[in-house]
Chain length 323, copies 2
């Protein structure tokens, strides 16, 4: 399929075209590299803000508040919510989506959920490309919210230029923050539900841990909010603006990132071709796979034999091309 006309419409401001492209990107369609190479020259302008933290910290409520403040400042906002897969919710959690409806009629806000169902390491890639679509579409700010606090979520946060880690007094102490790898990625800490018992202690623990870090050009602030009432949320946005200014040019160098992207895009396509070829029970390796199924050959030995045979590997990769 030629996605060219769709890209043209999206770049001209067509929202249904943007949604269509996001669906292609989330499904990791074969046309993804072509789409992304078309929009690439239009990216690099948006402020990409990651919001993460443990379940129940109030991330969605904070995202909602930040979007409201940004709209008051006449900035356009793309929101990417990385939702886990659930057979019950179909990937979207009802409560959040209903709350977000306050923005549904606002043409300056666009909300997209990414379901994590059945991914093969595809979520960080899909998230990265959806963020770039928002960027090319012209959104001033892209907010990326993740539900979990795990390795995939840490990976996703790499694509943000500023990261907010949201915590609540009840969700464990600062040592838990360190254990979850959150200390290293935070550009701004938010202690939400700051009216609850334990907020002072959490704030002090965070400040103490931060004071142990090596000196850096940016001092990570610890801000207190009550996202439900909106208290303190404008200060979060102000801190993010300051961070963006302070961080210009200090993140991973742009050309290293670009070469990493090339490897990653090729990786993904090679994986896709391998899976397609295996699903089609590609001849050449058919007998090996049959032996694995029968339990007479272990998977590692089968893989080693296929990898040792450059011809077989090449044939598999060529076979999957038109998958």
């Amino acid at each position: 399929m030629d996605a060219g006309p769709l890209v043209d419409r999206m770049l001209a401001g067509d929202r249904p075209a943007l949604a269509r492209l996001m669906t292609l990107v989330e499904g990791r369609a074969p046309s993804v590299p072509a789409i992304m190479s078309r929009i690439y020259p239009r990216t690099g302008r948006a402020h990409v803000i990651g919001i993460t933290g443990p379940p129940g910290a109030g991330k969605s409520t904070l995202v909602d508040r930040l979007a409201t403040h940004l709209r008051q400042a006449k900035k356009t906002v793309g929101i990417v919510a990385v939702d886990p897969s659930s057979p019950f919710s179909g990937g979207a959690v009802l409560g959040d989506r209903i709350r977000m409806q306050s923005h549904f009629l606002d043409p300056g806000v666009f909300i997209r959920s990414i379901s994590t169902r059945g991914s093969h390491g595809g979520i960080p890639r899909a998230t990265r490309d959806i963020v770039r679509l928002f960027d090319a579409f012209g959104m001033d700010v892209v907010l990326v919210e993740t539900v979990g606090v795990g390795q995939t979520e840490l990976d996703i946060m790499q694509l943000a230029s500023s990261v907010v880690v949201v915590l609540v007094p009840e969700a464990g102490d600062a040592v838990q923050v360190m254990k979850a790898g959150l200390l290293e990625i935070a550009d701004v800490f938010v202690v939400n539900k700051a009216d609850r018992e334990g907020a002072d202690r959490l704030e002090q623990e965070l400040l103490q841990m931060l004071s142990l870090r090596p000196l850096a050009p940016w001092t990570v602030p610890v801000l207190r909010t009550q996202a439900r009432t909106g208290a303190g949320t404008e200060a979060v946005l102000a801190a993010l603006d300051r961070h963006r200014e302070a961080a210009r040019g200090t993140k991973e160098s742009e050309d290293t990132r670009r070469i990493g992207d090339v490897v990653d895009i090729i990786d993904e396509e090679v994986q896709r071709r391998l899976r397609a070829a295996f699903a089609a029970d590609g001849d050449g390796v058919g007998p090996l796979l049959a032996a694995v199924r029968a339990g007479t050959l272990d998977p590692y030995s089968a893989a080693v034999r296929i990898l040792a045979d450059a011809g077989a590997l090449g044939a598999l990769l060529a076979k999957g091309t038109h998958g």
Copy 2:
């Protein structure tokens, strides 16, 4: 390197050889497929139990208790702790490791931490292979503990035959459990710190959510513990034994899993070769990469050109072979 003698020593019960092999596997050494194909026939006997839940839920303390009970029952125990990367802790969190020292002198227990530093989707693979090493070594039970609650952690739990989800009253309500994708993977729920306020409510919410699920051969129990005192922890082990019996033969069919393993092992090696070839600035694609670095060609276009050229792709994959 020929890892054969090392494997022989490990299979004969040599613990330093086991530790050495785990280091190779964690570093994703080129010898991994050879090692794993040697040990594969000796695997499939251990009861692999996953323990997950939000930071601060008391997972490590529960793991420690379960290990103690298992040792009292004369069972040998391998423990895999998937720790996030941290420049401060070096991947291991001091408090937990000190607590675990109660088992350090016991030859029936072996503890291994996996750091998640700089992985390229390698954690689930390293964890899977370390579990298999424990299995081949002859451990009766392997406990896999993850620190985060994200997609990677959900992926890791796929390799367990029984999964315990540990929660505490303060860490948010049952809706948060659903949002984090934990409802779908739990074979046993544990409400830890059950003496705290809110334990009753959390238990009721979980039972209600579970009652909405389609009828299944296994009824997921909700158990209350105080891991610090040990209260209720033996009942968790009993439930896991019952689950193992009930689940025999109902998990993903063995031959589908084996074919998936073949694809995954080839994937990993192809990725390794690509990265090695790119790091060496492989000629053929050198000019393309230079254009990407200079910003005159975008990464997607470069990847598309390399993928379209079967000769260039084959040369890259062959070049990385001796990386």
